[in-house]
């Protein structure tokens, strides 16, 4: 079974589906939607089969495929997945059908092509799967950049107000990071012996300064993507302007490319530079936790608020990565998954509210729970998951990150814990202002506010709620997949120990 080309099929299939859907005439919008949904469900089914075929205790990289592409540069079409990537691939496969279902009517009504919207989502899925599945740095870079194009058009063509500004800002920020990474990729290729193969580059050694510059080139791109403070300003704009489904994919999956990239590329390829810059990473992550949470508290726009909460969450993932303990690392990866589920759910529910109210401003709601009790309940659950309430899976990951970090950086952990308090603040206050309290009289006059959760919407939120609860109580199957990959990553970082520092001592213990 492991010789079955899972990864290349998973990468190519959504793109083919995108072409099929894009070729549908505008008049057959309903058909286009159904094809898109069916296609993404098929991708999910294949991903489930792949997950089952993956040996958690087996070799680090599985399902490896490699095809000739550009021999002059030794760039190959190489795909492989470790536990970390597998978790992200599963997240994509789960979220995309739900997003398609949730966005069923999002593209209607305007004069934009409905099939194009769903085609773009499928294209996005293809590039996102490609980015996580590549084991060749050139290929990774290709997907990393191409990924911007469908998202750019999703925001720019189908977004809300300020969509043009948000789309261009999103594209330029990511492109700037990507171009610096391009310089680093080329530099890596030149000093690493003219190869792009991840495995072979792993064995390369660099001069200290070279390694640090290369690390910074990659890190800048990933920090913008994630985003870490102070490269985050594009996210609230993009998240606020994007249609809810696209925002769920943007924040839920696409941004994980940043943290994933740090784990897959920065740490193993540049271990010494990673150790050197780890304090920087920790500080940026800490600032992000506090700063993102404070700004989230101050937001009036629901989608921007959720975007800011993500910046805070990425701070937790960041400290988990740069703590260099296997508990914290596993927690960070698990957090990437849970954040995708929880924030995806939050964005989708907010999208449902916004679609009904016709506005994303917190002030336009108030007491909405009276009209929409079920949606308000889902929002509450999503909020609780987002603030990592015990019993939901984000709690497990946040706890792992904090425990793993406390062993090595007590001060960092103490500060990060304040982030949890602030998280309670922004989530609870948001829920109070939107669904609780005296009903906003304006809501009475809006017909759509009287329609609570529909069957389609229930089908969107139910799997996410189920997953969040299930993984909250029984995270073992996922942790078993993540753990070996994280351990392998950490052993890459420690592969040539310089004079011991605090961090290294702890890793070696």
């Amino acid at each position: 079974m492991s010789s079955f080309p899972f990864l290349s099929i998973l990468t190519v299939a959504p793109a083919v589906g995108g072409i099929v859907v894009a070729a549908m005439p505008r008049a057959k919008a309903g058909m286009a939607k159904r094809i898109a949904l069916g296609w993404s469900v098929a991708v999910l089914a294949l991903t489930v089969v792949m997950w089952i075929a993956f040996h958690a205790g087996g070799p680090r990289f599985q399902f490896r495929e490699s095809y000739r592409w550009i021999p002059v540069w030794d760039a190959r079409f190489t795909l492989a997945t470790d536990g970390i990537a597998l978790v992200m691939l599963a997240l994509i496969a789960v979220l995309v059908p739900l997003v398609i279902l949730a966005s069923w009517h999002d593209a209607d009504g305007g004069n934009r092509s409905v099939p194009l919207f769903f085609a773009l989502i499928l294209f996005l899925e293809a590039t996102m799967i490609g980015v996580f599945a590549s084991a060749d740095i050139f290929l990774f870079y290709v997907f990393f950049e191409v990924m911007l194009v469908p998202m750019y058009f999703l925001i720019g063509s189908f977004g809300g107000q300020q969509r043009q500004y948000a789309a261009v800002k999103f594209f330029l920020y990511s492109l700037v990071g990507g171009l610096f990474m391009l310089a680093a990729v080329i530099g890596l290729w030149v000093v690493g012996g003219h190869t792009f193969d991840w495995q072979r580059l792993l064995a390369a050694d660099f001069a200290t300064n070279t390694e640090r510059w290369l690390f910074l080139g990659f890190f800048l791109a990933f920090a913008i993507k994630a985003p870490f403070f102070p490269f985050h300003t594009w996210l609230p704009d993009a998240g606020g302007a994007a249609p809810a489904g696209a925002a769920a994919l943007l924040v839920g999956v696409m941004d994980k490319v940043g943290t994933f990239g740090i784990l897959r590329y920065c740490l193993p390829l540049f271990p010494n530079a990673s150790k050197y810059f780890a304090p920087l990473g920790l500080v940026l992550a800490l600032v992000g936790i506090i700063y993102g949470a404070l700004l989230a508290i101050g937001q009036n726009d629901l989608k921007r608020l959720v975007s800011y909460t993500s910046i805070a969450h990425f701070g937790f993932i960041g400290i988990g990565i740069f703590a260099f303990t296997s508990q914290a690392g596993t927690g960070a990866v698990f957090y990437m998954l849970n954040h995708g589920l929880a924030t995806g759910l939050l964005f989708l529910v907010v999208g449902m509210l916004v679609a009904r109210r016709g506005s994303a401003l917190v002030g336009d709601f108030g007491g909405a729970g009276k009209y929409l009790p079920v949606i308000a309940g889902v929002l509450l659950f999503a909020g609780m998951a987002s603030l990592a309430l015990p019993g939901t899976s984000p709690f497990v990951s946040e706890f792992l990150v904090l425990v793993g970090t406390f062993a090595v950086h007590k001060a960092v952990t103490v500060v990060a814990t304040f982030g949890i308090v602030l998280a309670a603040g922004y989530v609870l206050w948001m829920i109070q202002r939107t669904t609780q309290g005296a009903p906003n009289p304006a809501l009475e006059r809006i017909d759509r506010m009287k329609h609570d959760l529909s069957l389609r919407e229930a089908a969107v939120v139910a799997p996410l709620i189920a997953l969040l609860l299930l993984l909250g109580f029984y995270p073992k199957p996922v942790l078993d997949v993540i753990n070996p990959a994280v351990k392998a990553t950490l052993s890459d970082v420690g592969k040539s120990d310089p004079p011991p520092t605090v961090v290294i001592k702890e890793v070696g213990r």
Partner: protein
């Protein structure tokens, strides 16, 4: 070799008795001879078939000539000779550049030959009629075009081929003039906006003449230093001569001014936006694709063959020029409101990226520059092909505000143009990315990382104007003045398709062309 050198020396006159006719390898020169021959036939056709729609003869004639020349170039792909008494070198880069000029020239000729977009095509018959006079308006409204553009284009293309294979400075100068003069004239022939076209032509001519004069002065200085004008002789003199290197430096910098002018590098770029804007768009396309190939072909040969051994002297200077070109080109592109001027500044910035490959002065630098020239040529041809299509009753609508909402009016062409812009921005899976990757890799490989950093910054800046056009086309509502896109004739469709497909193919599967450039990347002396 020394007999040849003497032949160029005034001292050779008394020694005429010993002068021996150089042997000429006609097979190696055949592609150029075919082009010049077809050009002459074209002139005869103009004289003989009066009153007959001559475009119908000229276009097939020219295309046949180009195809024949291309066949010869491909057949002699493995040829490496210096012939015509050392005046012409037919080696890997020369053959590759000639082939590129021929292929890109063919596509440009398709645009030049388009006659369905407006009666008589985008050209008038006489360049020198005073603009806005009765006579000028009369000729602009006459439906017969100017079939002379075909012989002119043939001479220009032939000159470009000679320029990229010239093996001494005098031949190079002759070739420079041979390809420049027809271009000056072609620029003045636009049917619409005659005054702008004439201004463009005059500006190009005057500045081009200055540049040629600089070049010629440089030749004289180099001769003063080396006593020779052939590249091998200059190379030998740089090692062995005990003459003062001052002459060498002055000469080299003057040569470089002449060459960088044609390549549109900052600070010798000022003509580019005006000429690109004023010239008839098909001619702009020809210049942006083919002239760039020729100019960089000449620059590569001069720097790699003749002056390779004074690398240390000029590498920082050309590097600085490359940085200036990239930054100035991209920054000024941000402020443009006319699509043709925007493309002109983008072509300046692209000249900067090419210079990164040129100053690497390695085999990788050479092969990546060759690849870049072809990749960029196809993309820019496709871009200008789209520009010729966006038009209303008054001709092309080049002001950017008129492109607002174009995606709504004609989604197909807006999609194609978006793809082209993404290629210019260097997004992967387009030739723009592979090309840029190649030159940047050569730059870092040659320890010129600072150039690559500048290139990366400039690419980021340059992405903004491209995105602005994308935003205009797709995300803005169509304005009152947004023209519909004209249905292209078969010729423009073909040109557009070739350009776009090449952009895609060289992005997705660049391996075959990369192999060719790698094999071709070796000069002979």
């Amino acid at each position: 070799m020394s007999a040849v050198a003497l032949a160029f020396s005034p001292l050779a006159a008394p020694a005429a008795a010993t002068f021996k006719l150089p042997t000429i390898d006609y097979a190696a020169l055949a592609p150029m001879l075919i082009l010049f021959g077809i050009g002459c036939v074209g002139v005869v056709v103009e004289a003989v078939f009066r009153g007959y729609p001559r475009t119908r003869i000229q276009l097939p004639l020219a295309l046949v000539g180009l195809v024949a020349a291309l066949v010869v170039v491909i057949k002699s792909a493995d040829k490496r000779v210096v012939t015509a008494g050392g005046a012409i070198a037919v080696d890997g880069p020369a053959l590759f550049l000639q082939g590129s000029i021929l292929v890109l020239g063919m596509v440009a000729l398709l645009l030049i030959g388009e006659r369905t977009l407006e009666p008589g095509g985008p050209f008038v018959a006489q360049a020198a009629v005073t603009a806005n006079t009765e006579a000028d308006r009369a000729q602009a409204s006459r439906p017969d075009g100017s079939p002379e553009v075909f012989p002119l284009a043939m001479f220009a293309l032939g000159g470009m081929m000679l320029f990229s294979s010239a093996n001494d400075l005098l031949t190079m100068f002759v070739a420079l003039e041979v390809f420049s003069l027809p271009l000056y004239l072609l620029c003045a022939l636009a049917r619409r906006r005659r005054l702008l076209s004439q201004e463009a032509s005059l500006k190009y001519f005057l500045l081009g003449s200055f540049a040629s004069a600089f070049f010629l002065f440089g030749v004289a200085m180099i001769y003063g230093f080396a006593g020779r004008v052939d590249f091998a002789g200059i190379d030998a003199a740089i090692v062995g001569s005990d003459a003062s290197p001052i002459l060498l430096y002055i000469g080299l910098s003057m040569l470089a001014i002449g060459l960088l002018f044609k390549a549109a590098a900052v600070p010798f770029h000022v003509w580019t936006p005006d000429v690109y804007q004023g010239a008839p768009t098909p001619v702009t396309a020809l210049m942006a694709a083919c002239t760039k190939v020729a100019a960089f072909g000449g620059l590569l040969r001069v720097l790699y063959v003749a002056f390779e051994r004074s690398t240390w002297d000029f590498q920082p200077v050309i590097g600085t020029i490359a940085v200036l070109t990239m930054i100035v080109g991209s920054v000024l592109a941000v402020t443009q409101t006319d699509i043709k001027r925007l493309l002109a500044y983008s072509s300046i910035a692209n000249a900067g990226y090419l210079l990164v490959g040129v100053v690497a002065l390695t085999k990788d630098g050479l092969s990546s520059s060759l690849f870049y020239l072809v990749a960029y040529g196809f993309t820019v041809l496709a871009a200008f092909a789209v520009v010729t299509l966006v038009r209303d009753a008054d001709g092309e609508a080049t002001h950017l505000s008129r492109w607002a909402g174009l995606g709504r009016r004609s989604p197909l062409f807006a999609t194609v143009f978006t793809f082209i812009l993404l290629a210019f921005a260097g997004i992967p899976l387009t030739s723009g990315f592979t090309a840029k990757f190649g030159v940047f890799a050569a730059g870092i490989g040659a320890d010129q990382t600072w150039l690559v950093i500048a290139g990366v910054v400039s690419s980021a800046i340059l992405a903004f104007p491209y995105l602005r056009v994308v935003v205009l086309m797709w995300l803005s509502e169509p304005g009152e003045t947004t023209p519909a896109v004209s249905l292209p004739g078969a010729l423009t469709s073909a040109a557009l398709m070739i350009g776009t497909l090449a952009t895609l193919l060289l992005g997705v599967a660049p391996a075959p062309l990369l192999d060719v450039t790698t094999r071709a990347a070796e000069f002979i002396r």
